[in-house]
């Protein structure tokens, strides 16, 4: 009976395993293999060992893109979660406009990011952008901050747009987690005289801890692999100051003929994403064990 169950199980698992093997594992392994060659995407190639990896780590623009990507990934994860949680807490109250607000907060995630990038480009334009115009009206002086045209601001603008774009789904997950907290537990803490802050720290936060783990992972993943926003908004400029690792990979692979450098960079990005993710999962599991 057990053997039959096992065979049946294999049958059920086989389709997705085959699909993953063909469309995911095999291409990944193939990419790793090509990252040790000088393949240009067309024609033959030869094995070059770790030369591509040495080249990318000697390339200042690559190491800058790596640092920038980690900054964007971590900042986006933290800020998206703070905003998402804040909005979820707001919508967990008995508000008449709850449905409308929920839709409003979610809308940025529905807009294709390339379209959003073009809209933001006009909003943040240093010469005639709406944001500078509003700031000028507010202060009475002519404000012309180069939000996306100066290396001093552009990364922060990208983080802000990423947060704006991502807070919708994060908020929905938090809202579901908040609504899952049993009413009797809430009432018990109120009867015990706990303050709002104490209730949040001692009841709400532990109860939504699994949601935090999921949300931070979503935020990290979105931040670390960010490509379309900087590419459409600034093309990686000015002076390469908004070039993320994914944009750099694209430049290696497609703007020049260094596809193998692009593959090596992709592998580095994957490793970084895995390290950051596993580190966070380890921390969050400890937290969940400690509080639940």
């Amino acid at each position: 009976m057990q053997k039959r169950m096992f065979i049946t199980g294999i049958f059920f698992v086989a389709p997705i395993t085959i699909i993953l093997a063909i469309f995911l594992f095999f291409p990944i392994l193939q990419s790793v293999y090509y990252s040790f060659t000088d393949w240009k995407g067309v024609g033959g190639y030869s094995f070059v060992g770790f030369s591509n990896y040495l080249d990318i780590f000697n390339d200042e623009s690559f190491t800058n893109a790596l640092k920038r990507t980690l900054l964007i990934g971590i900042a986006a994860a933290v800020l998206t979660n703070l905003c998402g949680l804040l909005f979820a807490l707001m919508l967990d109250q008995a508000l008449k406009t709850k449905s409308l607000l929920r839709a409003l907060f979610y809308i940025p995630n529905v807009i294709p990011i390339v379209v959003a990038a073009f809209v933001w480009r006009y909003m943040l334009d240093a010469n005639s952008g709406l944001l500078n115009e509003w700031l000028s009206k507010l202060t009475g002086d002519r404000i012309a901050i180069p939000w996306i045209d100066s290396p001093d601001y552009v990364v922060y603008s990208i983080i802000a747009i990423t947060v704006w774009q991502m807070w919708g789904p994060i908020m929905i997950i938090y809202l579901a987690a908040l609504q899952g907290i049993p009413q009797d537990m809430k009432e018990a803490t109120m009867i015990d005289g706990a303050s709002k802050w104490r209730r949040f720290i001692s009841l709400t936060l532990p109860m939504i801890a699994p949601g935090i783990t999921v949300n931070v992972l979503i935020g990290l993943a979105n931040g670390l692999r960010i490509f379309d926003l900087p590419f459409a908004l600034t093309g990686g400029g000015p002076a390469g100051s908004s070039e993320t690792l994914a944009v750099k990979i694209y430049r290696y692979a497609f703007s020049s003929t260094e596809l193998s450098l692009g593959l090596a960079s992709s592998f580095v990005l994957t490793i970084c994403a895995m390290v950051v993710t596993f580190f966070f999962i380890a921390i969050s599991r400890q937290y969940e064990k400690g509080v639940m």
């Binding site: 389709p15 200042e60 240093a126 045209d149 093309g235 002076a239 703007s255 260094e258």
Partner: protein
């Protein structure tokens, strides 16, 4: 239980057949697949679909009406046109070559790295047997040849230069375009005092940021044939002090110019730069003799002029000759005859004249089209011995040229010119060594 297992087995088999069907068997190229879709396309009564890939600006927005006209005259051929933003056209071609999905006809630039890739992969057809190629002069056919074969129908030839707004320069006392770098910068200063910008360009088009250096290298090449030869063959020894000085001057001038450059130029799409110029926010646009039509369309009332970048004294300055982008044919197309019919029609003298009229560009076919009045000086430039064939994307390899633009931008924001020079030299030597 038995039913469940049976259902699972049936589903699994169906999925396996689907996967194997999708993955296996057809090792044809994309274009061959296109052909397979329309197999028998040449037979009377069957419609053949040709795929054509080009950038938005290549036909100055009239591609839809041209295609409609072509399809009306050739009911058996349907054109599937794919028009992409200018900044992404060569990246798209690069991907199509890598994935063997090259369209039947596609945009190329003779000096661009992707053209070499397409050629190496066998996708660049020899156009010498195409009747319309005879419309071009021999010098143009040579200029658009790779491995001895004419490889593209160029939309025009011309020079890289600066489109300018005559009224705006007149506002700062210039009835003629500035002839020296100092006069150019002085105009920038005066315009800035009036709250306007002298210059605008489009950093998103990667290679554009380095364009100032075409004149830095070009004007030196005019006076030093040895440098010119080294430059064209990518063998410059930058350790020579006189060559390093060329870079230093180029970087410093790039930085100086950016004092009067419109904010946003480093991250703009070209259309945004054109818009700023057409709306009178900037007096001068980094351009070429292929933009007149588009600029007049944006602002028909503007008094448009075209000048050479006043990098060096007028009698020592270089004119930067550029064969324009054009369409190439896929040598592996499943429909070579139909592709030939399409390209012959597109680059017949009659159709080409329509394209020229829309683009306002400099004709590559003798006796076809009218010269835009802003380009009246250009034929005289081309008579001089100061023409440098430094196409927009060569001879320095694409990624090194992009790096040059990036290092120059870095210097504009902060940094040390010597470090910028060292970075460029390292990048140049690294690429050349490869």
């Amino acid at each position: 239980m038995y039913k469940t297992k049976l259902l699972a087995i049936v589903m699994l088999l169906t999925l396996m057949v689907g996967i194997l069907g999708a993955c296996g068997g057809n090792a044809n190229t994309g274009s061959e697949e296109n052909g397979a879709k329309n197999s028998g396309g040449g037979k009377s009564g069957d419609k053949v679909e040709l795929s054509v890939l080009f950038a938005d600006s290549l036909f100055a927005g009239i591609h839809a009406e041209l295609i409609q006209e072509f399809e009306a005259a050739h009911p058996n051929i349907k054109i599937k046109a794919e028009s992409l933003p200018d900044s992404g056209i060569f990246d798209a071609l690069r991907i199509r070559v890598s994935t063997n999905e090259v369209p039947d006809a596609y945009q190329v630039n003779i000096g661009h790295i992707t053209t070499g890739l397409a050629n190496d992969a066998g996708y660049l057809a020899d156009l010498s047997s195409y009747e319309s190629m005879a419309g071009y002069s021999e010098s143009i056919r040579n200029a658009v040849s790779i491995d001895g074969k004419p490889a593209l129908f160029t939309l025009g030839v011309g020079v890289l230069g600066l489109a300018y707004n005559k009224d705006m320069l007149a506002e700062v006392g210039l009835s003629e375009p500035p002839k020296t770098w100092e006069a150019f910068m002085d105009a920038g200063k005066k315009l800035k005092e009036k709250g306007k910008d002298l210059f605008v360009y489009a950093g998103k088009g990667e290679t554009m940021m380095g364009n100032v250096f075409h004149w830095a290298f070009g004007s030196y090449a005019v006076k030093d044939p040895a440098f010119k030869e080294a430059y064209l063959s990518n063998k410059i020894d930058w350790s020579k002090p006189e060559y390093r000085a060329i870079l230093k001057e180029g970087f410093e001038r790039f930085k100086e110019l950016n004092q009067y450059t419109r904010v946003g130029s480093f991250t703009n799409e070209f259309t945004i730069a054109q818009q700023a110029f057409a709306e009178g926010d900037s007096a001068v646009l980094m351009s070429g003799t292929w933009e007149g039509g588009a600029l007049r369309k944006l602002n028909p009332d503007m008094k448009l002029g075209f000048m050479n970048m006043p990098y060096a004294a007028e009698d020592q300055n270089a004119y930067i000759f550029v064969p324009e982008d054009g369409l190439a044919a896929n040598a592996k197309s499943a429909h070579p005859e139909e592709t030939k019919i399409f390209l012959n029609w597109m680059f017949s003298k009659e159709t080409y004249a329509k394209i020229l009229k829309a683009k306002g560009s400099f004709s590559a076919m003798p006796g076809v089209g009218e010269l835009d009045e802003s380009y009246t000086d250009v034929p005289a430039w081309l008579e001089t011995d100061r023409i440098q064939s430094f196409a927009n994307t060569g001879p320095v390899p694409n990624n090194t040229w992009v790096a040059l633009g990036t290092f120059a931008q870095e210097l504009t924001f902060q940094g040390d010119v010597e470090k910028s020079i060292d970075k460029f030299i390292a990048e140049y030597n690294k690429t050349i060594a490869k």
